[in-house]
């Protein structure tokens, strides 16, 4: 039974926390291109490299597309690879996101969530990573910089797990988390090094008829990234889906292992409920807004309202069973989406929560609030109004508008 390890407290912003986690995780290759609000990650990491604090090849690539390409091939050779980006950078990588997952390369990426252009906006929303939810990457969203630090370290273990072998992206809200100082508890270097371990490789059978570790190794030549005709593409994709199906249990296990060492837990690793056990009304959201919602929930509880919050930490794979179970007793739910799906009658999280609840025994009201686009701040009073709406729905049994916008000037 491991006891919680003694930790240092450092004043770090979200980006610095990520860079620090990467520093400790024995990463072999970092290939990255700067983009606000991720820049501090690459800047801090370059300092570590320049001061000899890490043994990492740091490639200052000429675009994000090249950043992920280089990470992918480095990973294929057997290196532990990391990159970070945001917004337009993630969009530029889009093609290679699919390729990385298809090549089963366990690359870890920090996405400092920022709005997509046009018009160009450098502030926080989830449009950049939400739009990539189909690409075959595991997606974890952090509520605070502490969780960003913890999640990056866990991400290497999750990605490299032989039953998974999928890349992982960890989202942290741009500026809100990336540029705001927090007291971050950091584990000792040795602890992190032991936790992430060295890369192990699953076995594959090559054209030489040998069954060898999956990596580009001159002793055992293999071909990665072939041309699939209609006779095999479907099967390769099903393999990726299988990895996604294996992931939830493993994410929970790794989260639990990390919790025993660090003393920190985020729900069960997939979902992070707050005062939800007997809640009648609840808000669902991702990222830093959960912090604000918790304050409102506490206020409401003090007033005798049975309010709760369900923060989705792991968005991909979508924890359908967990969502259904967590919301069993809730009667009215507001899903907060920090991105738009134009023409989609609501945001992505809204769609997916409704999907998760469709086959549930109970049929609660589920409504959508699009908020915070382009860094628009959402105040506790605005969130309180959401809970007021939910109460009204409970009283009247009617939904006025399934999709609303928070703080939008009409």
């Amino acid at each position: 039974m491991e006891s919680v390890v003694k930790q240092k407290v450092l004043a770090l912003n979200g980006d610095e926390a990520v860079a620090y986690a990467v520093k400790q995780s024995d990463v072999d290759v970092v290939a990255a291109y700067p983009i606000t609000p991720q820049t501090i990650i690459v800047e801090r990491f370059s300092e570590y490299v320049a001061n000899g604090e890490v043994d990492t090849e740091f490639i200052c690539v000429e675009s994000e597309h090249s950043a992920l390409s280089a990470c992918l091939t480095a990973s294929a050779v057997g290196a532990r690879a990391f990159t970070a980006t945001a917004s337009a950078g993630l969009a530029l990588m889009h093609e290679i996101l699919y390729v990385t997952s298809g090549c089963r390369a366990p690359v870890v990426m920090a996405v400092v969530n920022r709005a997509l252009s046009a018009p160009i906006n450098i502030h926080c929303d989830h449009s950049d990573s939400m739009v990539e939810r189909d690409c075959g990457w595991i997606q974890i969203y952090a509520e605070n910089s502490q969780e960003a630090y913890d999640s990056i370290i866990q991400a290497f273990r999750i990605a490299e797990n032989q039953k998974i072998m999928l890349p992982v992206m960890v989202g942290l809200d741009g500026f809100t988390l990336s540029h705001t100082l927090e007291n971050v508890h950091v584990l000792p270097d040795e602890t992190v090094k032991n936790f992430v371990g060295t890369r192990q490789f699953p076995l594959v059978t090559t054209h030489e008829g040998k069954t060898v570790p999956l990596r580009l190794d001159v002793e055992n030549p293999m071909t990665i990234g072939p041309l699939d005709l209609p006779d095999y593409y479907f099967e390769h994709k099903r393999q990726q889906e299988e990895a996604m199906r294996n992931a939830p249990e493993i994410i929970k296990q790794i989260h639990e292992e990390y919790a025993r060492i660090s003393g920190r837990r985020y729900g069960d690793g997939l979902l992070d409920p707050y005062r939800l056990e007997d809640a009648e009304i609840a808000v669902i959201c991702l990222g830093s807004t959960a912090g604000t919602v918790k304050t409102v929930v506490d206020d409401l509880r003090n007033e005798g309202v049975k309010a709760g919050l369900l923060r989705i930490r792991t968005f991909r794979p979508l924890p359908v069973e967990g969502i259904t179970k967590a919301l069993e007793k809730v009667k009215a739910i507001a899903v907060m989406d920090r991105s738009m799906s134009f023409g989609g009658h609501g945001g992505a999280v809204f769609h997916e929560v409704r999907h998760a609840l469709y086959d549930a025994a109970t049929h609660p009201h589920v409504v959508n609030y699009i908020y915070g686009l382009g860094g628009r701040d959402t105040s506790p009073s605005q969130i309180r109004e959401i809970f007021n709406d939910l109460q009204k729905i409970l009283e009247t049994g009617r939904v006025k508008a399934p999709v609303q916008f928070v703080g939008l000037r009409e």
Binding site: G102, V204, T206, L214, I224, P226, Q239
Partner: protein
Amino acid sequence: MTNHEKGWKEIPIAGVCWKPTTAYKTGDWKTYKPVRDSEKCTRCLMCVIFCPEGAIHWKAEENDIEFDYDFCKGCGICANECPVKAIEMKLE
């Protein structure tokens, strides 16, 4: 194409190929086949160098070249480049 197509559980992950192309005989592509006059041939080995298929082999132990018709596509480069015109493209 006629052998059993493997299911997703049977094939390696990451799209790793599990057969060499040498298991795929492209020799049936050809219409014309290179036939070498062994007497005229000077063993200059230009044909071995220029064959896009690598289907002409230099057999050191036999001190001779050998055409691998399993892979020859009948392009005719060997015949075209042979300095002594020892190769003729004949209809298969």
